[in-house]
């Protein structure tokens, strides 16, 4: 049946919605910028050394496609196997079943509901600890750390995606596409690349901090610390 499909004919990958305060803002996504987002996602996956035959569990609903789809496409391009589970509390059983049955390399988009449900299950402790990375939404980071895990941040920052690298020193965004800055109301995001939707000084966090020091992982640009990093372990 695939042979009967025409493929994209619209100039748009699609239309997403992000929140500006309590206002929903639609944003068009073009194909060229989607391709660049895929390329950046692939660079992040390379930093984590995720590649062929690895298996990633993804917990993002369809409407989060503007943020997750570039990663999903990059995973497919890198011949990574993926599975899906819903991020809602009633679907914790699906994530748990997957983790019990199959060896997963990484998790993308863990919600706080899923985190709270999984950390209570003893037989998930080993599979959760083996995830590298366990990309979790900012509100899930605390409960996962409390359970002795070392999650990395997956954050939807307005229309942009932020992902932490193994340094876990804040979420990277693609600096060719987005500019992060400190503003009087908090950290702002502006469009830097040639994108269908242009955003200017959107406040994406009132409490986060920016880290402008070069990241040892090699990815360029500042990182946004939406969650405080863990304090360094005492020497010795």
């Amino acid at each position: 049946m695939a042979a009967a499909l025409t493929g994209p004919v619209s100039p748009l990958f699609g239309i997403g919605l992000y929140l500006d305060g309590d206002r929903q803002v639609p944003f068009d996504i073009g194909w060229a910028e989607f391709a660049r987002d895929v390329r950046w996602a692939s660079e992040v996956l390379a930093v984590w050394d995720i590649g062929r035959a690895d298996h990633v569990l993804i917990s993002t609903p369809n409407f989060e496609g503007p943020w997750a789809s570039p990663v999903v496409r990059a995973l497919r391009d890198r011949q990574v196997v993926h599975s899906n589970a819903e991020p809602y509390s009633w679907d914790v059983r699906r994530s748990a079943t997957f983790l019990r049955l199959l060896p997963f390399r990484a998790f993308l988009g863990m919600s706080v509901e899923t985190a709270l449900g999984l950390v209570k299950q003893e037989d998930c402790a080993g599979p959760l600890a083996a995830l590298a990375p366990l990309w979790a939404r900012p509100e899930a980071i605390g409960p996962l750390r409390d359970a002795g895990l070392d999650p990395a941040v997956f954050a939807m920052l307005g229309p942009a995606l932020g992902l932490e690298c193994p340094q876990r020193s804040g979420a990277h965004v693609d600096p060719a596409e987005w500019r992060l800055a400190e503003g009087p109301a908090g950290i702002t995001l502006s469009t830097a690349g040639d994108r269908a939707h242009v955003v200017r000084d959107l406040v994406v966090s009132r409490t986060a901090r920016l880290d402008h020091t070069p990241c040892p992982c090699g990815l360029p640009g500042p990182r946004i610390r939406v969650v405080d990093p863990l304090p360094p372990l005492p020497a010795g």
């Binding site: 699609g14 194909w31 993804i58 369809n62 409407f63 196997v81 599975s83 589970a85």
Partner: protein
Amino acid sequence: MADTQPTVLEPVVAAGDGRRYLEPELETMSRAELEAFQQRRVLELVPEAYAHSGFYRELWSAAGVDPGRIRSLADFRRQVPTFTKKDVQAYRERTGDPFGGMLFGPPSELTSIMSTSGTTGDPELIPEIWDAYPPLQLCSARDLWEVGLRPGDKVLVSAGSFRGFYDTFYHGMGLVPIFVDTWIGKGEEIVQALMRFRPAYLQLMMPTVLELERLEHTYDIRNALSSLKGASFAGQPLGRALAAKVRDEWGVEMFTYSSAGDTGTCWECREHDGYHLWEDLVLAESLDPASGEATGAGAVGELVATDLDNRAAPLIRYRSGDLVRLDRQPCGCGRTHARQWVVGRCGEETTVGGVPVVLSEVWAAVESLPETKDGMFQIIRESAVVDRLRLRVGYEPARTADVTELGDRLRHAVLDRVGVEPDLVLVTVDDLLSRSSSVAKFPRVVKA
């Protein structure tokens, strides 16, 4: 990044896409051509399964099947044994193979591993190999074309992702996905998105329909839905009262779809006369659940399905547990593929004090009252044979003045229709929906 997909649809788009069929040659092929195609595929499948699947090798060896002696569809139906989900689970527990011995190749060669809804237990793994479009989504391409979707149309993305992402498939159809949260509790956002983006299609779920019904006093729902060419509806049927509201009051043509024996989906066409099983993708049989013999034309039987297009772990003579009626006569739409009507699930029959209770009769009684016209109910039972009929029924608070009085009327309505007086547990519709553990399926029979 445009998918580099074949572009055979381009002339259709250029010509104004007036064609009814997406793949006319395949959708209208003769019965003889269909069976020849199925036989060819089955004869490839059997030796492949025997060579690569531990589960089938064990199952068939125990039944004395020699793959070399399967030379026709008739041989296949006569010699190859059927199996159930429990057989795969047993193999998995015995061997530790998470795929239950079904995989044809190493897991590293898979594209994705999805899972079943898990309505009645832990989700089961669904391994998949695909190139451009995920298989579950792809098998609805002809159906969405029949809904009237054409390249350039906007669609609201479906809510649930546990069976795979939809955007790539929508792109393949030339559609523009609108990434709006259409999950439970987002009725108002859905209405606003309908007004703002004027999409041609969305997938409705029972909770969404109920939310839109509640928003009728705030929004002009008919107007909000007026840009739709159609809407799909999955899972259990809506019930007559709600279906009439969607169709007649809101003006939406609704296309219900169901499972094709866990091999894919089957959808209504514009004739709304049964669900089309794409027989170039699935070989469908209807067998008497007790005897295992093929049922006669028009008789109800269990759907036994064989995957014809699954490269990862095809189901071969899988007993789906769905009770269906099959019709292989051409449909009024001109398509020649079989249609099925889903009657229920094996094991859903309940006998109460010696009286057989049919789900549809309970349904009709429940939706006959204005407070419970949404038809939201569950039979609560320990086993298929019980002394009392216990029903949990959802009522709409805004339409209910006195819950006790409603209980009295409902008890009589069920007694009149079903012949058994029920024990009732009345809860709000919201409360009842919150007990559902699935995106699309609302279980009608639950354990006490």
